[in-house]
Amino acid sequence: MKTGPATATNGQPTRPTRGLEELDASSRDLTLHNGARASVPVPEGKEAKISTEDLRVYFGKTRVLHGVNLAVVKGAVTAIIGPSGCGKSTYLRCLNRMHEITPGARVEGRILLDDQDIHGSWIDPVLVRRRVGMVFQKPNPFPTMSIRENVLAGITLNGLRATDTDGVVERRLRQVALWDEVKDNLGRSGSSLSGGQQQRLCIARALALEPEVLLMDEPCSALDPIATARVEELIHELKESYTIVIVTHNMQQAGRVADYTAFFYMGELVEFDRTDVIFTQPKESRTEDYITGRFG
């Protein structure tokens, strides 16, 4: 057990992130901005794709994340749960620097993608986003583009060249199990599809750029149960080849799709562990309260 010692943020003492007691094999030790020591636990035998170290996020003068140390395991699904306003979406958006489009947003600490700090001043956020793709809460296919063009959007909009575009379209649509439904209507507008189909189209669009990581910000909250089930199935299949981080307010969903779950509360990472552990034997009372529905 190598969970970091108690850290003090902004003068107020915070409890250490709990979890991974048994799993922790190769945690990375680090020194926080206030001089305290901490570590980012990585499950045994696993590799961190992204790790955030002492991540603090500000909107203007308000701090909304108070030093998050978390490793996103490579080739697995990590769910981020927590009550609304706990900072889970903000955390997710920092992972590909999408927070930057919010005026006044500012990040301190480090976010390492394969050991490279993506917030370094010499890093182009645009390139980060090509490696770390994103799927949004509301399906947002480009309404002026056909289904086909939507799949290829990341390639064409970036001015990249792909040799076999038909192949890309078919492969990506098959990958999201949309091919059979739309293969005869690839020229139709993307917005003519149903909500669930649109969301799968958006996932295909993100995959076409061959990202290494896929961030999903409550991807099913605008979908009906059947469409939700299909997207969840899809997530299962995708984790073979991608690292996925999914924000959800639906704990059942986290239980169904995620290998690891992180519980955020009031801008802090309270607990991180294997999903089954979080849901059966949480170590923190706040986690337990939340997953048993006592608040949030």
Partner: protein, 280 residues
């Protein structure tokens, strides 16, 4: 009960007065359009579109040069005014939530109220005086200045209607901001902006005052855009205030052509917008 009946009477008479106001407001439109159609049709023939104006005293002739001149000046004006207006609109909607944006917005609104004749004077000062030449492109600049505020504000409004989720989608695909704006945001708003542009073009196509001392006029074909150029509105004015009956007839026909041109642009733009609003 009497009190109620009295109030009811007042209500009815106010409604009546309002309906009367609507009718009075619309009567001139009907009258003008009827007269222009009836009077204009009598002089409408192929010559009108293919011939140059004839000297006083001779009958026949047409306004081919003025028709071409108007199209030329308006096309030039659009080429100048539309891109500037749209890009300024892009600034206002995408980056304009600051003091500069506010000032630009205000300046555009104020500018849309500046009399067209003073715009003519302005362009006379900055172009005609310097080039020592009335020219089609001086006229085009004047019209461009006139359409600029409308195009800017319409573009801004329509770009604002593009949902942020599309901006995020593009940025999330690793598309740089400028590409996302041009290829996604602008493209999504394009049909609406096209409507706005058409309305602005229709408005300036009928403008006379700003052309009087910029494009001036020409009884013949203009060899280039650096020469005085005839335009339908100016020609209508010149002919209308002349003492010759033949010219008056031609002025009516020219007015018919101009009105058809302008209203066609205007109505089709509105119709397109209406269809789109219904479709969405």
């Amino acid at each position: 009960m009497n009190n109620y009946r009295y109030r009811r009477l007042i209500d009815l008479s106010i409604r009546g007065a309002c309906i009367a106001a609507v009718v009075i407001a619309i009567v001139p439109l009907v009258l003008v359009l009827t007269y222009v159609t009836v009077q204009g049709l009598s002089g409408l023939n192929l010559d009108f579109f293919t011939q140059l104006p004839k000297p006083v005293g001779e009958t026949g002739g047409g306004m081919a040069n003025a028709i071409v001149g108007t199209l030329e000046i308006v096309a030039l004006a659009s080429a100048i005014g539309v891109p500037i207006g749209i890009l300024a609109g892009v600034y206002l909607s995408e980056f304009g939530n600051n003091r500069l944006g506010k000032s630009v917005r205000f300046a555009a609104d104020v500018m849309s109220g500046v009399p067209s004749i003073t715009v003519g004077l302005f362009v006379y000062g900055i172009i005609v005086l310097r080039t020592r030449q009335f020219s089609a492109w001086a006229g085009a600049v004047a019209l461009a200045v006139l359409m600029l505020p409308t195009v800017t504000r319409t573009s801004e409004e329509l770009l604002r209607l593009v949902p942020d989720s599309l901006r995020e989608a593009a940025l999330g695909l690793g598309v740089p901001r400028w590409r996302a704006t041009l290829k996604v945001v602008l493209r999504t708003a394009a049909p609406g902006i096209a409507t706005g542009v058409m309305l602005a073009v229709a408005r300036v196509a009928g403008e006379t005052a700003p052309l009087l001392f910029t494009a001036f006029g020409n009884r013949f074909w203009s060899a280039s855009i650096n020469q005085p150029t005839a335009s339908l509105p100016v020609q209508i004015y010149t002919y209308a205030v002349s003492p010759y009956d033949e010219w008056h007839r031609q002025a009516w026909t020219a007015a018919l052509v101009l009105v058809v041109l302008v209203l066609l642009l205007n109505v089709s733009a509105r119709w397109a917008l209406h269809q789109r609003v219904r479709a969405s």
